[in-house]
Structures are given as C-alpha cells and as structure tokens.
C-alpha cells in the first residue's frame, strides 16, 4: 500500500479494503464483497472524469474503464437475480448509469467539435436546409416590397414601421442633404467598438428569437422576417425618393450582406424545425423535431458568428469607408465569400466512426 500522498486529498484516495469476505454469512454478500473493489475503483475513475474530463484520468485507468464498466454492468444483472440487498442494488444501478454516461459520453471535445464545424459541418447544415432558405429568401424579398408599397401609398406607414427616434432625420420630408448626411462617415473612431458590441448583442438576440419562434410551425419566424424587411423596404423608399437609392444600397451592403444573410439563415433554420414538425414524413414528430433542431442549432452557431462579423463591419468599415464603390466592394466580397463557403465548399465528412 502506498503512503498517503497529496493526491489523496483530491479524490484519488486509496480504495478502502472490503471486509473479510469469508465472514459474510450470505452468498450474495460474498458475491458483493468479492467485486466491491472493482466497483469502487470504477466509481473513483468515473468521479474524476465527471469532475474534470479526461485530463484527470491516466492512460492505464482509461484502458481499464470499459472493462470495469462491463464488470459492474454484469454484476448488476447477476445481483438482480440473486441478491435482495436493496442498498447494493441501488448503488450498482447508480454506478452503472454514471459509468454509462462517461463511457458513452461525448467523445469530441468542444475544440474538436468546432474544428468539425468550420471544416464542413456548418456549410453542410446550411445546404441541408436549402429549401427553407429559398422560402425565407422569397419571404424577405416580399417583405421588402410590401414595406415599399405600403409607404408609397400612405406615408403614415413609415412611422408605424420604422422605430424612429425624436432626433432621427431619416423621416419622410427630409431633404436630400439631411439624408446624405446619415450615410456619411464618422470623423472619429471613438465609441464605435461599443456600438459594435451592442449591435452584436441586439442582432444576435433577434436572430435567436427568429430561430426559436420556428417551434410554432415556423409561422412567427416568417412574420418576424416580413416585419424586419418591411422596415428596410420603407427606408429604401425614403432614400430612393431623393435619388439616393444607390448610395443607400452601398451604405447598407457593407454589413447588410452579412447581417441579412445571417437573419435569412436563422429564419430558415427556425422554419426548418416548424416545417419538419408539421410534415414529419415517415418519422415520428419527436424524431423529426429532434433531427431538424440539431441541424438548426449548427446553423445558429454560425449565425451568431456571422453577427459578430456583421457588427464589426457595421461599426468600423461602414462608418469609416466613404466611397460608394468601395462600400459595394466590401459588401459584395463578403457576400461572395459566404456563398462560396456555404455552397462551393464541400469537403468530405470527417468520419464520426473511426
């Protein structure tokens, strides 16, 4: 036996020696006392894995884990047939369950998962919901047109659609100069990163909402898309009315290509869930919902990352880069990048099973 060491303070204590096996009066207790050492060793390993993952477990123990788990599992099934000791049965059930969660636990760490995510998992998930992306895109275009037409018919709609602040000069009746000024660059960079952070938090929140609302068969997701794009349509009408359509599009495209794309994806992911729950095909509703939900979650991780990019673009290049052409170039190249990444980048699936 080893002398007590520092490691025994951190849960690596020596496994207590069982009571004298021969002293047991019952066969089932002999059975238990003979195997108790293995159970306790398994419990010790499992406990450390639960506490800190694989780092706290050395190789020899890791190799022993499956064997110990099977020993405990077979002990449990034997004990069920031969023992009436409830305490032991309960202990074994809990031990086998805990060990099962570790043995069949996630094999990939967060880092491994992210690697798989960037190297194909994300773009594959996006391609898998292509139909929903098409529908969401159509809905977004329709929303823009609706917004435009509504405002054109009745100016009051502008105030209903666009949440205007008191000092905002972007209202119907504004002069061309006033509107142009809102598209101009900032003189200083102060405050822009704080602006970016709050933009990101807000936009990512909206995107997550659009996704989560998909649970109600996708309808609220679509409504959210329509509403947001109607706002855009109304503003486009305003700027186009003063002959600033191209400038506005350039100003918007810097971050808009990324942000609107991300909103499109989140709406589509939400609708994907709603659609698969409404039309599960030959799967059960729960199964269909689970599959589409996990697929949507991958898309959503990407959407949050895209929102980070969009917020950076919105806060810095859009406020600092002036020319219409250079704004279009930035926005256009990001759009091209996303499209290429999602639809042209098709690496082979990294095998789940080695």
């Amino acid at each position: 036996m080893k002398a007590p060491s520092l490691s025994s303070w951190f849960g690596r204590g020596e496994v207590a020696a069982p009571a004298d096996i021969e002293s047991a009066a019952l066969r089932s207790d002999k059975f238990r006392l003979e195997r108790e050492g293995d159970w306790r060793r398994l419990e010790d390993i499992v406990q450390r894995m639960e506490r800190g993952g694989l780092r706290r477990v050395d190789d020899a123990e890791l190799l022993a884990l499956p064997t110990l788990y099977r020993t405990a599992a077979s002990s449990l099934s034997v004990a069920r047939e031969t023992s009436l000791d409830v305490a032991t049965l309960n202990y074994l059930e809990s031990l086998v369950q805990r060990a099962w969660f570790q043995v069949y636990g996630p094999r990939k760490g967060l880092f491994g998962w992210l690697r798989e995510f960037f190297l194909g998992g994300w773009s594959r998930a996006v391609r898998e919901i292509w139909l929903d992306i098409c529908v969401a895109f159509f809905v977004m275009v329709a929303g823009t047109i609706v917004g435009w037409l509504l405002v054109e018919q009745d100016r009051d709609w502008y105030f209903r659609l666009v949440p205007t602040q008191f000092t905002d000069t972007r209202v119907p009746g504004a002069t061309r100069e006033q509107l142009l000024e809102t598209l101009a660059v900032e003189e200083s960079t102060g405050g822009l990163s704080a602006f970016a952070a709050s933009l990101f938090s807000n936009n990512a929140g909206v995107a997550i909402l659009a996704f989560a609302l998909g649970f109600a068969f996708g309808v609220p997701s679509l409504l959210l898309l329509i509403y947001n794009l109607a706002v855009l349509g109304a503003m486009m009408w305003l700027f186009a009315g003063q002959g600033l359509g191209v400038e506005f599009a350039a100003w918007l495209s810097v971050h808009g290509t990324t942000e609107l794309f991300a909103i499109l994806l989140s709406g589509a992911a939400g609708m994907h869930i709603g659609r698969s729950m409404a039309f599960p095909g030959d799967k059960s509703v729960l199964q269909a919902a689970g599959e589409s939900g996990r697929r949507g979650a991958i898309v959503m991780v990407g959407v949050v990352l895209m929102m980070v990019v969009a917020a950076m673009l919105e806060a810095f290049p859009r406020q600092l880069v002036g020319g219409t052409e250079s704004r279009f170039i930035i926005g256009g190249s990001f759009l091209a990048f996303w499209l290429a990444y999602f639809f042209l980048y098709r690496p082979k699936r990294i095998g789940d099973e080695r």
């Binding site: 202990y91 086998v96 969660f101 069949y104 102060g190 990163s193 704080a194 952070a197 996990r294 979650a297």
Partner: protein, 315 residues
C-alpha cells in the same frame, strides 16, 4: 444500438422500490444488454434547478458589474448614458466587456455547463439531475445548443409579455402572444417525460443522476454472523417462522437496520415477535433483527435461485 423501452412492468425487478418515482421510471438498455433504470426528473426539481441557476447568474453578474463600476469609477455612468457618444477608451472597453458578458451569461452559461462531463448546470447538479439524449446515444453539442436556444421564447419572452400585455400597450397582439406563450409554457406539463420545447427539438430529456454511496454489507455485522455481541445469545428461526414475510418486508427491515433508530427498531422487533409467536424480550432488539434479517434474506435468496419469489407477506 441503444433502446429505451416504455414503462413496462418488469417481473424480475424488485417489487417495491421508489414507489413515488414509478410513474417516472424508464428503462434504458445498454449495448451490453443491461437494463439501466432511468428516472425522469420531476418538474419540481427542474424548476428548482432553474431558479438556483438564475440566482447564481444574477449574483455572479451583480458581483462582476459592481467590480466593473468600481474599476471604472465615475466613468461608467457616462458610458451607459451615451453608448454612441464619444467615450474614453477605457470606459468603452468596459462597456464592451459588460455587453458581451450579459450576452454570454444569457446564452453561454447553460451551454458550457451542459456540455461538460456532468451534463448539468450548477443548479441541476445541486438537485441531482442531468441532461441526456433521449435515444440513449451521445449528448451532442448541437443538441445542447438547440435546447438552450429555445430558452428565449420559453422564459424571457413570456416574462416580457406578462409585463407588457396587461398595460394594453401592444393591444390584442400582446394578448395573442401571451396566450401562445402560455401554450409553450404548458408543454412540459402535458407530456409524461416532462419535455420542454427545447427538449423536443433537441432530442434530449432531463433525468435524475443519483450518486449513491455503497453502504456496508449488513450480513457481515453483529448478530447476522451468528451470536449477539451484547448477550451472546444465538437466534435461530425455523422455516415456518421465516415463511411469514416476503421481499417487501425484508426491504423495510433493511431500511430500519440501516437507519438505526432505536424507537423504530424496538417497534419492528415487537411486531415481528408477535407475528412469529415469540415472547418479545428487551435489550437485545438490534441483534434479534440482524439475525432475523440475515436468515430471512438467506431463505428468500435461496428460493430465488430456484426461481421462487415471494413479493410480500400476502403472496
């Protein structure tokens, strides 16, 4: 590979255990063919865990924000007052930390903890439950992400609607939203696995994660081995005397012996003596019960090996 079977009565299982939990008990068949019982977490435990998590989050955020304010001194109010205004670099940095922190607290806390090896947030750990994949497979990161993204509409949105709807600000839209969200909130009450909307789309469920310690073997202690330590008396029971009880009574006896409550021991001692026609003495109750327990168990277990089981005294 793994299957979950519905709650079917299992003849092999001991007849009475966790009677309260019976309705929530499911069986998970591992790849080795072992039936591992799994108990779906009660709704009360889940609400408790959620409240604990929010208290933790709130306290943690308050501490960090207080720290930020302390660092920033007077700067902080300035920053909050005008996020877009020209603020000094340090204040701006603190503001960014603040915004990202709130975002992380809202979405990251649950994610990071449920992705860990315990599959549970701190609150869930405290009440002894964890997240698991419903099909018995691995709990994947995307499942955890999916179930936590829906928390927004299950929790935060209803709160907003609850506050806004009565004021009538949003008109009938507010009430419609409230009604719809009431439905979403009611989902966990309407299915037997207590799945919330997030669990449904992620293919997960929340189950109890008991951490039972191995108790000492009773038959190696005291009079179970033969004679009483106290009086040196030896208790021997005949087949007829042991035949009055079954497994259910054996388990009750085991519980009484493990709890070691003097009142309960003498009460049970008296009951058993009356039942088998012995004259209840006094002073050596525990030794009597230990011997009775060991011999009753030996008899029931040897019957069990021949395929005979006696569930309780009536059978």
């Amino acid at each position: 590979m793994n299957t979950i079977t519905a709650d079917t009565p299992n003849q092999a299982a001991p007849p009475v255990r966790k009677e309260m939990a019976n309705k929530r008990e499911r069986t998970l068949i591992t790849p080795e063919g072992i039936a591992v019982p799994i108990v779906v977490a009660s709704r009360g435990a889940r609400i408790g865990a959620l409240i604990l998590d929010f208290v933790l989050l709130y306290v943690g955020l308050t501490i960090i924000i207080t720290l930020l304010i302390w660092i920033a001194g007077g700067l902080f109010e300035q920053v909050v007052a005008g996020a877009e205004a020209n603020v000094a670099g340090a204040g701006e940095f603190l503001f960014i930390v603040f915004v990202l922190l709130v975002f992380l607290a809202r979405y990251g806390y649950f994610l990071i903890f449920e992705l860990g090896p315990r599959g549970a947030t701190l609150g869930k750990r405290a009440v002894g439950i964890r997240v698991a994949a419903r099909d018995g497979g691995r709990l994947t990161p995307e499942a955890v992400i999916a179930r936590n993204l829906l928390r927004d509409i299950e929790l935060f949105m209803p709160l907003v609607f609850l506050m806004v709807a009565p004021s009538g600000e949003m008109g009938s839209f507010g009430y419609a939203g409230l009604a719809w969200l009431a439905v979403i909130l009611a989902i966990p009450l309407l299915n037997k696995d207590a799945l919330r909307a997030g669990d449904i789309i992620a293919g997960t469920w929340v189950v109890e994660a008991p951490r039972t310690k191995l108790a000492d073997a009773l038959s190696t202690q005291g009079a179970a081995k033969g004679t009483s330590d106290l009086t040196g008396a030896r208790y021997d029971f005949g087949d007829a005397e042991l035949a009055v009880y079954g497994e259910r009574e054996l388990q009750t006896l085991e519980r009484v012996l493990r709890d070691d409550n003097a009142d309960a021991i003498s009460a049970v001692h008296e009951t058993i003596c009356r039942k088998i026609g012995w004259d209840p003495g006094a002073g050596d109750e525990r030794a009597f019960l230990e011997a009775f327990y060991a011999q009753l168990r030996a008899k029931l277990e040897s019957d069990m090996r021949f395929g005979k089981r006696k569930a309780d005294k009536h059978s």
